[in-house]
Subunit: 338 residues, 2 copies
DNA sequence: TTGTAAGCGTTATCAA
DNA sequence: TTGATAACGCTTACAA
């Protein structure tokens, strides 16, 4: 950078002491300084093109006004809206965010976490929660401020902002039931994620209460590829194959789209498919995807607010914010043909 | 944060001077210190759970090892791959990235730019280039390190990493010509963006050299909404309406999808549509979108490399990296029916 | 209301 | 090879 003007130069030009410049320029202390000294300082600062060095400030105040957002993969379409939600809430309050990806790799997660820690971030937003030994668990043990978004931390009592997934699954199953389906499949996400368990449990409960046949296939990941694999398994069932599928998320649903087409079948005629999340452009798919809309942006906002609250109160309260979801019926579900 | 162990504690435990600890722990200076003092220091550091404070380091070294990525909107699907490309290149070298959005608003861009400047970022990657007075122009004038990605800075001689857009457009037009189309439309993006001009110019040239009728409609933005508006204008032409459309990007193409459907027409029968970028999931649209694939991730990698080069050499060379693109033919283009 | 000066956790220069 | 010491640019008691 080419910034060579500091508080000292401003002080000299304004004819005051550096300390006074600091006070005059800081909103919290500006009223400690005479109104026209303040004006003089301001003028000098502007004239010199003074830019505060928040790194120096942070060193002194022990707060960097930065946070870290740790997610599996930014190219998973659910994350951009979440990240934007977080930032919409944080930037106005003077925070900036580091956004880093883990690709679901625990080692990478550890590395980026430590690296952000060195950068003195004031807190974390984790989109990576899972059961078992985790960075979140370690962070909690070290008293680090953080919140979970979209998933919970699998036992670690950080606050979290999630969707009301059970409601969404229930609505999806009921919708399929009302269309006349009597046997329904579910692609569950990896068991380590809270979302997977919540959705699978809700699926079981909904089917049972409606008296529907059900089959659950666990997908290895929340990805298109995993969706294809699970679909292969599903279609291999043959004549007994369920007539409808509630996929654990939209990507799994998309994988099912591919497999169904490759098998020479058509959705929704041969298989009705429901997704989860209502990822951007889900309505533009072939066919438009019936799915459960999760307010992703708002999830980000809530997570940011929970973190802010934590940073302000310096206490980690175990609050779970659950936002309502909504079934969006589009073209991938229909009356069963068999 | 709850980090209370600094270099001083480590020094005390290891029985050496803080300066020695610094040297022992810094890869660049570790060979200035006796091999077993070094080991002792390392052990002490580990034992205390020492985490370096890179903010303090940055203050002293005048380098934060952070960069700022300024883009219009992370939820525009072309940006996540670009950002990941950038980070794939930078994180290995010890950099972390702030990702901020401008929503195309010059005021917001200014604000976030200044805010990142205060945070002492070592450089910027701009995905926001346009003609006219810009943050990039100002940054250049101030000697700030930066590169452009996807677009150039409209006259500001920062290096840039872009796609070979003209080739892509040419391939698209030729493809439509070969299918038998004789009159083709183009939705051009806002004139302020370099991509818009390059693509529109290439469109004109390609049509002229192939002897095709052409109409160009300028869209107000690179968005689905703008695509709808432009399509309304296009369809209003009536019987003389071109039989094919080369949209300035995939979002505009998607807007055209919507309008075509609303008008009771079908793509590609009534209108063949080509997009640009091959955004994620373009193959899953209804119909699958014929589009020009731009290596977005690689664009990010190149941009990061250009920035790294700049930070290392301390010189801003005006290098333009242009990556090859490729027409991907899918279901949205066909032989014209009229 | 303003000046003084210490100190945030490092690194870098200079001696020893 | 290590120690001592002065920065880096700012904030904040405390004093005046």
């Amino acid at each position: 950078m080419a910034d060579r003007v500091g508080i000292a130069e401003v002080a000299k030009l304004a004819g005051v002491h550096p300390g006074t410049v600091s006070r005059a320029l800081n909103p919290k202390t500006e009223d400690q300084v005479n109104v026209d000294t303040r004006a003089r300082v301001r003028r000098a600062a502007k004239q010199l093109g003074y830019t505060a060095n928040s790194i120096a400030r942070g060193l002194r105040t022990n707060s960097s006004m930065t946070i870290g957002i740790i997610i599996p993969d930014l190219t998973n379409p659910i994350f951009p809206p979440i990240v934007r939600g977080v930032e919409s809430c944080l930037t106005g309050r003077g925070y900036s965010a580091f956004v880093v990806n883990t690709d679901g790799d625990a080692g990478i997660e550890r590395t980026v976490f430590e690296s952000l820690l060195q950068r003195q971030v004031d807190g974390f937003i984790f989109g990576t929660g899972h059961t078992g030994p985790s960075v979140a668990a370690d962070a909690y043990a070290r008293g680090i401020h953080a919140v979970m978004v979209n998933r919970d931390a699998g036992g670690v009592p950080y606050p979290s902002a999630v969707g009301m997934d059970a409601d969404g699954i229930q609505a999806a199953v009921r919708h399929l039931h009302d269309l006349g389906h009597r046997s329904i499949a579910h692609f569950a996400g990896p068991a380590a994620f809270s979302t997977s368990r919540v959705r699978a449990d809700a699926f079981r409960a909904a089917c049972d209460s409606l008296g529907l046949e059900r089959v659950i296939i666990e997908a290895g990941a929340y990805s298109v590829e995993a969706g294809k694999a699970a679909s292969a398994e599903l279609l291999a069932i043959g004549p007994q194959c369920p007539t409808a599928l509630v996929a654990g998320n939209d990507l799994l649903a998309l994988g099912a789209y591919h497999s169904v087409r490759e098998a020479g079948l058509v959705c929704p005629d041969d298989l009705s498919i429901v997704g989860f999340n209502d990822m951007p452009f889900a309505e533009d798919f072939l066919p438009p995807l019936t799915t459960v809309r999760v307010p992703l942006f708002d999830l980000g906002v809530e997570a940011a607010q929970l973190l802010l609250d934590q940073l302000e109160t310096k206490t980690i309260r175990n609050i779970q914010v659950a936002l309502p979801v909504e079934l969006v019926v589009r073209g991938s579900t229909a009356v069963p043909r068999r």
